[in-house]
Every structure is written in structure tokens, then in C-alpha cells.
């Protein structure tokens, strides 16, 4: 049945796809590259193996948290609770491992479970209570989870984790931080998840046009619940890396992480209107933020000025992307 012509369309479709993907990535990549070139000239310490691996490690937590945030933003939503959910997850995990002496492997699973459950609660609040926007549900959760983390820990940190948990946060495999390997694995999984699975595609559908999605027989409530569940889960993932990095779980962990995560997603080219965005972009967004912070530290810029520069660079990085698109 398949004529030559049809094959023609087929192949050309495939090529466009790759080229487009590359282009989409290139957007924020360009910003990242410009930034790195500037820093290479500005500081002799920037382009060293030691420093670059630091940057990779420093980007890891945000990259993981932002991956979950990406899903929320793809559905035209937002998840303000990621930082608090991170704190609650590791607090529970810390307590069951250190205070209750639970097997650390189970403790880590507990962490992920708590994150997922808190996220699912966001999703259920949104879909079952029909709250008008995830902003409300997740703002509520942001407070509730933080409060719970404080209550269960009695507001003090829990520390003394086994070596392998510390390794997750601060270990290296060759020159590559283990946490960044985690990120890469997560990004690849997300890439396949978003592009090659039913649920992933449904996420884009819900974000693109929720009414059309519903009428297409997509269970949009289920999709949204999954989105927030995964976001909570990824926050907990970020939490595990954090816990390993500092060998402690403390209830004020993750403060204002939501802003960094959202910034990573948006710098990475996703749209608040939903339906548009890639995991690669988000990774690059997280890298850009980490590189800015690192560069300013290396240059010994005072924190006040750092704040100003970070603000300006965020705008600049996104503007480069805007310019590129206009050219196109």
C-alpha cells in the first residue's frame, strides 16, 4: 500500500524532527555557551576540570526538581510546593533512618514515597476539589509540607547517613559527579517518557488544549494527578541528592527552590501557557543558573551585586533565545 510518495513524507518528517530538536535545544544552549565563554575570560579558575565538575554537581538538585516542574508547566500549571515537599521527604527519610534505625534503602524509598504522595495530594486537590489553579493547591502544600517537616523533626536537623547515601550527593565516578549521572539518567528517561509514552504525550495534549484533550477521551484528571505526583517524586529525588551532599536532613531545606526550578524550565524554553517545552531545555536552564552562581562566586562578587547580576543574566539569557527565534 505504501507508495514512494508516502515514504517521502515519512523521511522528511523524521529529518525535520531532529533538526527541530537540535534547534530547540540550541536556543538556551547558545545562552549557556555565551555565558561560559565570558566566564572563561573573566576567571582563570572557571574552565578547570575541578570547577566544571563542581558546576555539574551544583546544577544537579535544581535539574532534578526542575524536571518535575517542567511537567507542571507543560500542563499550563505550576508547582510551588517543590521546595517544601523536598524538605518533608528528606525529613521523614532522615527520621526513619537515623532515629528509627530503618534500613537506609527503605528510608530512601520512604523519601520518594513521601514526595510522590505529597505531589499526588496536590494533584488530587486540584482535580477532585476542582481548585481553580494549581497555584492554590501547591501554595497550600508549600506551607503544609514545610510545617509538617518542622513538626516531625522538632525543627532540628537529622544527620549521620551511611556512606552510600553521601555518595549520591557528593561522590564522583571518574571526574563526573554521581549526582549528575543521576540527572542524565533522569533526563533520558524523561525524554523518552515525554515523547514516547502515552502519558507523556497526554501531558502535552492537556497543556496544549485541555478541552480538546478531554473530548479526545483523555482522562485529564488522571494526567494532572500523575504530573503533580511525578513533580513531588522528583522533588524528593532532588532531596536525596541534597541529603547526601550535606549528610543531613533539615526541615528548612529547599527554601525558594521553586523559583530556581521555574526559572530553569522557562529559561529552557518552556511556555507558561502549556504544551511547549523540552527536558533538554530544562537541563540547560538549570546549567545556566548554576554557571551564573558559580561564576559570580569565582569572581568574588559581593552577594548584593550578585543578586543584581543574576537578575540581569536571567533576562539576558532569555533574551538571547528571543533574538535567535526572531532570526529564524
Amino acid at each position: 500500500m505504501q507508495s514512494k510518495e508516502a515514504v517521502g513524507i515519512n523521511i522528511s518528517g523524521g529529518t525535520t524532527n531532529w533538526r527541530k530538536l537540535l534547534f530547540d535545544k540550541l536556543g538556551s544552549l547558545l545562552g549557556l555557551i555565551v555565558l561560559m565563554i565570558i566566564l572563561t575570560f573573566a576567571s582563570p579558575y572557571f574552565l578547570t576540570v575541578n570547577n566544571l565538575t563542581n558546576v555539574l554537581q551544583q546544577a544537579s538538585i535544581n535539574a532534578l526538581v526542575a524536571s518535575g516542574m517542567l511537567l507542571a508547566i507543560l500542563t499550563a500549571g505550576i508547582d510551588l510546593s517543590v521546595g517544601s515537599v523536598l524538605a518533608l521527604s528528606i525529613s521523614v527519610s532522615g527520621i526513619v533512618i537515623i532515629n528509627f534505625g530503618l534500613n537506609p534503602v527503605l528510608g530512601i524509598l520512604a523519601c520518594l514515597f513521601v514526595g510522590g504522595t505529597a505531589g499526588m495530594t496536590n494533584g488530587l486537590l486540584l482535580t477532585k476539589l476542582r481548585l481553580p489553579h494549581p497555584f492554590i493547591a501547591t501554595l497550600g502544600m508549600m506551607n503544609v509540607a514545610r510545617g509538617l517537616a518542622l513538626i516531625i523533626t522538632g525543627a532540628s536537623p537529622v544527620s549521620g547517613f551511611p556512606d552510600w547515601i553521601q555518595f549520591i550527593g557528593s561522590g564522583y565516578i571518574g571526574p563526573i559527579p554521581f549526582s549528575f549521572i543521576l540527572v542524565i539518567v533522569a533526563v533520558i528517561i524523561f525524554h523518552y517518557f515525554l515523547n514516547r509514552t502515552t502519558l507523556g504525550r497526554h501531558i502535552y495534549a492537556v497543556g496544549g488544549n485541555i478541552e480538546a484533550a478531554r473530548l479526545s477521551g483523555i482522562d485529564t484528571d488522571r494526567v494532572l494527578t500523575w504530573v503533580y505526583t511525578i513533580s513531588g517524586f522528583m522533588a524528593a529525588m532532588g532531596g536525596i541528592v541534597l541529603m547526601g551532599k550535606v549528610n543531613a536532613a533539615y526541615p528548612l531545606a529547599g527554601l525558594s527552590y521553586e523559583l530556581d526550578a521555574i526559572a530553569a524550565v522557562i529559561i529552557g524554553g518552556a511556555s507558561f501557557l502549556g504544551g511547549v517545552g523540552t527536558i533538554w531545555g530544562t537541563l540547560i536552564g538549570a546549567m545556566i543558573i548554576a554557571v551564573i552562581r558559580n561564576g559570580l562566586n569565582l569572581l568574588g562578587v559581593s552577594p548584593d551585586l550578585q543578586t543584581v547580576v543574576i537578575g540581569a543574566v536571567i533576562i539576558g539569557a532569555v533574551y538571547i533565545d528571543v533574538l535567535r527565534r526572531q532570526k529564524k
Binding site: 508516502a6 513524507i9 515519512n10 518528517g13 502515552t198 495534549a205
Partner: protein, 504 residues
């Protein structure tokens, strides 16, 4: 021959992957109603958007009353009295009728501070709507109006300015018969006042009725300009599609199969009143009625997009509970909605994404989706529906209106459902494409699918249905076998007062 109001010369527009306009020429005389005709994707809307400054041309020139237009923007065009009504509605749903009509050109009490003169604007709105014979409250919110009324508001909005050239891009695709009549009356009135009008429609009877001259485009190329009085509908079709279309309604009769869908006493407060119907395998059930009669609500309630208050649904003789479109899909019943932009499409996504979005599970191989098969199926749909698209990866928003409609059809065809409900399936698509849609319906019935078709076009209802149901005010007011139905019988049943009283 009158004075030339507008002249477009060798206008070219290139989009990534398509040459939408290829050295198009257009001459419009002052005070005439000039029709633009062409298949879906021929470039009509694009030509209009260049004229109104929304797009910049890649070549060619525009002359208004002989003066070359150098730079062009929507504001400049408006200032020159060039007023467009685009194919897609451009109203602000959250604001009321008055505000929409005066949007951007408000009447102010105190100019300096922009203090509005609501009273004056409301009065003027009322005048405009009265002129159009429309009983719409100036303070009604747009979102509370049906599509037809919204279209009339758009027209009112265009009339509220000093217009020299009025451009109407498929205004009638959302209008009922009465509203079309009002529109045509208004157009004639404007023409008498010396206003020039460009009119786009796929409905050839309308073109014959209202137009003075017609310019035909095909595949982005200029074909011809003719006096409408000198040509027949068949001539126009030939110019448009480059071949003859012998049968506008190629109906194939199929043996009546088993009952596929039975709806019993279905009600939804205020819109659907105790409706019962049956659809059979191999047959087309046509649902006729006036705009706003509740047909859309009926079919939405059937597939679970809206909640029903009472009633039962049987599929293949089994009583089923349908609370969500996904349930309907599970039982093999799908609805092609009338509003493709808001309810049918993922505009930012590709043709392939859209075509496969309702049935992704089909492509699941272990965990991952089989991209090759998705592409194959999409290519198959593109070919069988003759969708004009550069590739399977083109974003749907870049397609012309009619081709977008075909993508929605493609999405549902791909589900292999066996009960198909079409709500206005041929809205905004060209004659050639219409025939293709009818062929799709034939093919479906041939496969043993039961089809329900809601349509406001009586010839279509009469030409394609096997059995016809007429709805008025949410209630079934008549039922006919296709053979015994006529336009008159249907119209009289459609205007019976249905008397919805189960709202309480």
C-alpha cells in the same frame, strides 16, 4: 466598469514549507461585492491578512485607489477604513457586547483620562444590533452567546467604524439561515452606500446570490476573475478544483445493520429535553435544526462531555454508563466537535500528534510508542483525506482552516470507532473537500459504522442522511426517512416551539 478601489499585483507570500501565495493579482472595484473563491489552503485568508497588514508580503505591491501602499500594519489598514472580519472569531470572551464592539475605539466622556461613556456606547451598540435585526443585549457577555451570535457581534463591530472596504472571511460558516439573510441584507445596504466588500465563502449558492465578481485562487496561484452572473456553480467548481465534480452528494446506500446506539429519554436541564434516538450500523442519522436548537448540547451529552440529568444509553444493545468522553471512546463512540480550534485541535502540536492523540494506546509497544507506525498511519490519513501539509511534523496552526478540519477528522478515523458523531463536519471546508468528507462517511458506513451527523446545511442533511431527526429547543419535533423529507418539512419542524419545561 467602476473605479478600481484595490489592486494587488504579483503578491507573494512564503511560509516555511509552503508558497501560500504565488504572484497573485486581485482587482476590486469600488462598491462591488467581490468574492474570493478557492479550495482550503488556496491562500484566501493569507491574501486578506496581507491586505490588512497582519502579514508582510514577500513580494508584490498593493494599491489603494491607485496609491501604492508602502508600509502596512493593522492600525494603518483600520485607519484607511479597511475593516476585516477574520475567519477565526476575535472577540474577548470576558467582556460584554458593547465593549467588544467598541474595543480600541471607545467613546469617551473625558478624553484626557479615558473615562468611558458607557451610555453612549450602549445606545450605539443597540442601534447597530437593531440594524442587523439582532436581539442581543449590549451588556451580555460574549462567552454567554452562541457562535452564531458572536459572529453577528463581529459584524456589528465592523459596522461600527467608517468602513471603505469590508472584508468578510467565511462569515457565514457559523451563521444560521436567518442570520445569513440579515448579513446579506446588511451587505447590500452597505454596497448601496458605496462600501466595497470582499467576501469569502465555500457555499456556492451564497456566492451566486450575493457576489458581483469572483476571483478564483488555486494552490496559491491566481486562476481567473469573472462576473458571477456569467458563470454557473459548476463552472466555479471547475475553476476551483481544476476538474469537474459530478456528484455533490455521493450517497452510497448500505444495508441497515444492527442497532449500534440507542438513546432513551435523555435530558439535560434547559438544553436537552427527553430525546430518544437510534442509530444503526451502516446508516447515517442526520440531525437538523436551527442554530441554537440544542443539537450540539445533545451530542455532547451523549458522549459524556456534559453531564446528563436523566436518560439511558445503550450501545450494541448493552446499557452503558457514560460520564466522560473517555467512556464513550471505550465503547467505540466518538464525537467530532463543531469548534475545531477550541475543542478539537492541539494547535501548537504537529499533524502527527493530533492525528494520533485520541488513540495512542494503539501504538504502544511494550512501554514506548512506535513512532514508525504513527508516521505511517499519519501519512495514510494525510493521503486518504488529502490534507495539504508540508509534512507530518508541521504544526497544525500553520494549516489553513479547512485542512485543520481534516486533521480533526483524521484523529477520529484513527480510533477505529464504530459509532461516529459528526457535529457540523463540513463547516468551513471547500466543495471538493466536502465530497471527500462524504466519501469518508460512505466508507465508514460501508465498514458497518453507525454515523450521526449534525448539520445546519439542509442539502447536506438531505443528501447524506438515511434517517432524519429534527430538533427544536432541545426536543425532537419530527422524524423522517430520507426519501420522504424535504427542505420545507424540515424547516417547519425546526421552527416548532419545542417548549422546554423540564428545566425546573
Amino acid at each position: 466598469m467602476g473605479e478600481i478601489f484595490l489592486k494587488m499585483e504579483k503578491v507573494t507570500k512564503i511560509f516555511p514549507g509552503v508558497k501560500a501565495l504565488d504572484e497573485i493579482n486581485l482587482e476590486v472595484e469600488t462598491g462591488e461585492i467581490h468574492v474570493l473563491l478557492g479550495e482550503n489552503g488556496a491562500g484566501k485568508s493569507t491574501l486578506i491578512k496581507i491586505l490588512t497588514g497582519l502579514y508582510q508580503p514577500d513580494g508584490g505591491s498593493i494599491y489603494i485607489k491607485g496609491d501604492a501602499v508602502k508600509s502596512n500594519s493593522p492600525q494603518q489598514a483600520l485607519a484607511a477604513g479597511i475593516v476585516p472580519i477574520y475567519q477565526e472569531l476575535n472577540l474577548i470572551q470576558e467582556l460584554d457586547v458593547t465593549e467588544n464592539i467598541f474595543m480600541g475605539r471607545e467613546i469617551k466622556k473625558i478624553e484626557r483620562f479615558g473615562i468611558l461613556d458607557r451610555e453612549k456606547m450602549e445606545n450605539r451598540t443597540k442601534e447597530i444590533l437593531t440594524e442587523l435585526n439582532q436581539n442581543i443585549s449590549p451588556t451580555a457577555l460574549i462567552q454567554d452567546l452562541g457562535v452564531g451570535k458572536q459572529q453577528m457581534v463581529e459584524i456589528g463591530k465592523a459596522l461600527s467604524v467608517d468602513v471603505n472596504l469590508l472584508i468578510l472571511d467565511e462569515p457565514t460558516s457559523a451563521l444560521g439561515k436567518d442570520e445569513v439573510k440579515e448579513l446579506f441584507r446588511t451587505m447590500r445596504h452597505l454596497k448601496e452606500k458605496g462600501v466595497t466588500i470582499i467576501f469569502i465563502s465555500h457555499k456556492l449558492d451564497e456566492v451566486k446570490e450575493i457576489g458581483d465578481r469572483v476571483t478564483v485562487l488555486r494552490d496559491g496561484k491566481y486562476i481567473s476573475t469573472k462576473n458571477i452572473a456569467d458563470v454557473s456553480e459548476d463552472d466555479l467548481v471547475r475553476e476551483m478544483v481544476g476538474r469537474d465534480i459530478k456528484n455533490q452528494f455521493p450517497k452510497v446506500k448500505i444495508e441497515k445493520g444492527a442497532e449500534a446506539l440507542r438513546v432513551k429519554n435523555l435530558s439535560r436541564a434547559g438544553v436537552v429535553n427527553n430525546v430518544s434516538l437510534r442509530a444503526y450500523r451502516g446508516k447515517v442519522l442526520g440531525i437538523a435544526g436551527l442554530v441554537g436548537s440544542g443539537r450540539t448540547e445533545l451530542v455532547r451529552t451523549i458522549i459524556g462531555a456534559d453531564r446528563k440529568d436523566s436518560g439511558e444509553i445503550y450501545i450494541h444493545g448493552q446499557k452503558v454508563e457514560i460520564n466522560h468522553p473517555k467512556d464513550a471512546l471505550k465503547y467505540g463512540m466518538v464525537l467530532l466537535t463543531e469548534d475545531r480550534k477550541n475543542q478539537g485541535l492541539f494547535l501548537d502540536q504537529t499533524v502527527e500528534f493530533n492525528c494520533t492523540s485520541a488513540n495512542l494506546n494503539k501504538y504502544k509497544q511494550n512501554v514506548l510508542l512506535d513512532l514508525t507506525r504513527q508516521k505511517e498511519d499519519t501519512v495514510g490519513l494525510i493521503r486518504s483525506l488529502q490534507i495539504k501539509t508540508p509534512s507530518t511534523q508541521t504544526k497544525v496552526k500553520q494549516l489553513s482552516g479547512g485542512n485543520q478540519q481534516k486533521v480533526v477528522i483524521g484523529k477520529w478515523l484513527n480510533t477505529e470507532a464504530d459509532i461516529f458523531i459528526f457535529d457540523e463536519p463540513t463547516r468551513g471546508i471547500d466543495v471538493g473537500a466536502k465530497v471527500e468528507v462524504y466519501n469518508v462517511i460512505n466508507e465508514l458506513t460501508n465498514r458497518g459504522v453507525a454515523v450521526i451527523m449534525v448539520s445546519s446545511e439542509l442539502p447536506e442533511i438531505l443528501g447524506i442522511s438515511d434517517h432524519i431527526l429534527v430538533i427544536s429547543e432541545g426536543k425532537v419535533t419530527a422524524e423522517f426517512e430520507a426519501e420522504e423529507a424535504t427542505q420545507e418539512k424540515i424547516m417547519s419542524a425546526a421552527t416548532i416551539n419545542g417548549g422546554i419545561n423540564n428545566a425546573v
